[in-house]
């Protein structure tokens, strides 16, 4: 079980060896990619920020919960922070287990909980020049205005 926050490009090919296990018949991964639009706005690039000390503890906790709820063998989650472009890999979750059912369920549990609980924030930069912190009421354009002052 391993949760990481990384500032460099994520390389699933490298991480996946940590999940290999001859007892496992099922391996499920989720990748969160930066997409070119969100809620109707065209996105140019993204910036992720993390409160790393608490984020790592919360992430480890989520992996431990997944392992307690489902009979899995290995689970890894890596979240990237910093400046990302469209198509970049922002988060990678991988689970291996004897059978596929628990791998699917645990992988879904981990990404859902990570998105809700790990202190990571995402600022979208839009094609029209605006930007905003996602989930933050009235924050779009606020940041831009703030910087212009």
């Amino acid at each position: 079980m391993e949760f990481r926050i990384a500032t460099e490009k994520l390389l699933p090919e490298v991480w996946r060896s940590a999940l290999e296990d001859p007892r496992c018949g099922g391996f499920v991964t989720f990748e969160g990619w930066v997409r070119n639009s969100n809620e109707g706005q065209e996105v140019l690039r993204l910036e992720y920020q993390a409160y790393e000390r608490l984020g790592l503890k919360e992430g480890e906790q989520i992996l431990a919960e997944a392992a307690e709820k489902y009979p899995i063998e290995q689970a890894v989650c890596v979240h990237r922070v910093g400046e990302l472009e469209i198509g970049d890999l922002a988060v990678w979750v991988a689970v291996s287990s004897a059978h596929r059912d628990e791998a699917f369920k645990a992988c879904r549990y981990i990404i859902d909980e990570v998105k809700h609980r790990v202190p990571v924030w995402k600022k979208e930069h839009y094609v029209n020049g605006d930007s905003g912190w996602v989930n933050c009421e009235a924050c779009a354009t606020h940041a831009v205005t703030g910087r212009e002052q």
């Binding site: 409160y51 608490l54 922002a90 998105k115 990571v120 924030w121 933050c136 009421e137 924050c139 703030g146």
Partner: protein, 79 residues
Amino acid sequence: MKTVTIEYFAVLRECAGQHQECLSTSALTAGELFKELEKRYGFPELNSIKVAINDEFSTLNTPLTEGDIIVFIPPVAGG
């Protein structure tokens, strides 16, 4: 008066114009401290605000202790 360290992230960092600061406050709880900072920096309206004290999730009505490291957590958006 207690002296605490505040670390800022995301929109709060942009409003405060700094990553962290050390300040003396008469606020008794984390929630009172947030109101004080909100007034000073003009934080935008947030759907919800959480707080971590010394790198543990806590609650806004938790009393402040000398030397606390406080992080206010706007709605997260990982993944």
